[in-house]
């Protein structure tokens, strides 16, 4: 890739847009999560502030911005402040290789999915550092759980994505999109239903959301690794958690659901509709299933998802060798 002013300007513009997307996504998701949770539990959800409670999320973000940053005693100063920053910044990079439309890719590289997986690893590091630096038993327990869980669920996730990479013969997100058609029966989900299922389960584990939200587990660990963070420190964790959700949903949409391709007209609107459908699914199961125990969580991963993922990969390779 040649260095040029155009690419430089393109990346700066993309990063600005991604920050706007992250913040907007968090506001929309907070509202959606509360409303959906309300309807699932047969209560109205937020309805006081603004029409149907729509301004509630904005008011809450204002509150977080204005809140005092309280730092408990005996924390590891550098690591305590480094952790939320480290949670936030890698996420900006993760959105760069996503093809939003035929013309809308911030950084077109051949190994797009490897870039995403590589920098997603820094997220768990921030959870770890936050939990350790807080000098708090609950936080430390949450961090230890976050590590065991994320390291475990990364593997079936990669295996599921690898099956699609086998099919398309490319790790380039744009080429994977291009090889799928406009209509739902031309998408990879029909060719790789098991991989899609494995990916769906492991993305819930990877983003630490209920029923797999053991690192936070408010009924046993207060708030897990971010117990000691207030104000913007907490807000950065919160933003990056929702941004990670959006990212794994985008990847699901690109790999299995045809990306920006859709009936009538291709474009970023289809990618957003598909990604938010996956997000809605994540919110739905969060408020429907109770939290699993930690041994159940790890057993599900190592004894079911990992062998299934390997089997699926093997079957994909064999079938491709014989029939294609």
């Amino acid at each position: 890739m040649d260095l040029s002013l155009a690419i430089f300007v393109q990346i700066i513009a993309a990063v600005l847009l991604i920050i706007a997307l992250m913040v907007g996504n968090a506001v929309v998701m907070v509202y959606m999560e509360r409303k959906v949770a309300g309807f699932i539990q047969r209560r109205p959800g937020p309805y006081e502030v603004g029409p149907w409670g729509t301004i509630q999320a904005i008011c809450d973000s204002m509150k977080l911005l204005a809140k005092q940053l309280y730092r408990p005693g005996n924390v590891d100063l550098i690591l305590y402040y480094l952790a939320p920053v480290l949670a936030f910044f890698p996420v900006l990079l993760l959105f760069l290789p996503i093809p939003f439309g035929p013309w809308l890719t911030a950084l077109h590289i051949n190994e797009g999915i490897v870039l995403i997986l590589a920098f997603a690893g820094l997220g768990v590091l921030s959870n770890l550092l936050a939990g350790w630096a807080s000098n708090n038993k609950f936080s430390l327990l949450g961090a230890a759980r976050a590590v065991a869980q994320t390291v475990a669920y990364e593997i079936p996730m990669i295996l599921a994505l690898l099956a699609v990479v086998f099919l398309s013969g490319s790790m380039d997100l744009k080429r994977i999109t291009e090889q799928q058609g406009q209509w739902p029966w031309e998408w990879n989900i029909l060719l790789q239903p098991l991989a899609f299922f494995i990916y769906l389960v492991s993305l819930v584990g990877e983003t630490n959301r209920a029923p797999f939200d053991l690192p936070e587990a408010e009924s046993e660990l207060t708030a897990g690794f971010h117990t000691e963070y207030s104000g913007m420190g907490f807000a950065l964790f919160f933003l990056s958690e929702y941004a990670n959700m959006l990212l794994v949903s985008f990847v699901a949409a690109v790999f299995f659901l045809g990306g920006y391709k859709g009936p009538i007209a291709d474009g970023f609107w289809w990618l957003f509709i598909k990604a938010y459908a996956v997000m809605f699914f994540m919110v739905w199961i969060r408020w429907t299933f109770p939290r699993v125990r930690f041994d159940q969580l790890l057993n599900l991963n190592w004894k079911w998802l990992l062998p299934l993922g390997l089997l699926n990969l093997w079957a994909t390779a064999i079938i491709m060798k014989i029939f294609l």
Binding site: S4, G101, W103, L104, L117
Partner: protein, 201 residues
């Protein structure tokens, strides 16, 4: 609609190319930028290494190790191997360092442990000499063996890597797999307690 967006992007790209041509005498060239990046990665490597050695706390030392790995990934980028650079991040930072952290958290981490005080001067000197050893062995080879700098076009490193691993380097690839398999079996054996046996310490 999409064609329109594409045309707008192309127009902006052409405008920026004109601007670049006009500004080019004042912008740093490609080799300058590479040199700057090289300096930055060397700083990361040295700073991370020093942090790892001198930190009085295991977690901070591991953070130093992570910074060093970032520097190594940067060097892979400079060598036009983005695939290797990302694998470095994925495996060494995303898995190895995180597991080291996990091990640190599971052990008792007292503030008055052996690593809490600076080692004696003699130990520091020995460590420095030991660190110089690879330099003494490999340094002359590198300096004498390097004739000139070869500039290469960036290659699709993923494809080349895969083809290489399954053709000329097949034997070493399989040997590494066997070593890893043996290591894994050993780890399982060490951690294995038959059910009903004594509790793990």
């Amino acid at each position: 609609m999409n064609d329109l967006i594409g045309q707008v992007f192309n127009a902006i790209g052409a405008l920026l190319a004109d601007l670049e041509a006009w500004l080019s005498p004042y912008l740093p060239g490609q080799s300058k930028v590479a040199l700057l990046a090289f300096g930055f990665y060397v700083l990361l490597l040295l700073g991370g290494g020093l942090t790892a050695i001198l930190a009085r706390n295991l977690v901070r030392a591991t953070l130093g190790l992570i910074i060093t790995f970032l520097g190594v990934a940067g060097f892979y980028l400079l060598l036009a191997s983005p695939f290797l650079a990302m694998m470095q991040l994925l495996i060494y930072i995303g898995a190895v360092c995180v597991l080291i952290f996990f091990a640190i958290m599971l052990t008792k981490n007292t503030s008055d442990g052996e690593e809490a005080s600076l080692p004696r001067l003699a130990n520091l000197i020995y460590a420095f000499l030991a660190g110089l050893a690879p330099l003494v062995v490999a340094g002359p080879l590198i300096v004498q063996g390097t004739k000139d700098i070869v500039t290469r076009q960036p290659v699709d490193s993923g494809t080349n890597l895969g083809e290489g691993l399954l053709s000329i380097d097949l034997l070493s690839f399989e040997l590494i797999s066997i070593i890893l398999l043996v290591a894994m079996a050993g780890a399982v054996y060490l951690a294995w307690r038959p059910s009903g046996g004594e509790e793990r310490a």
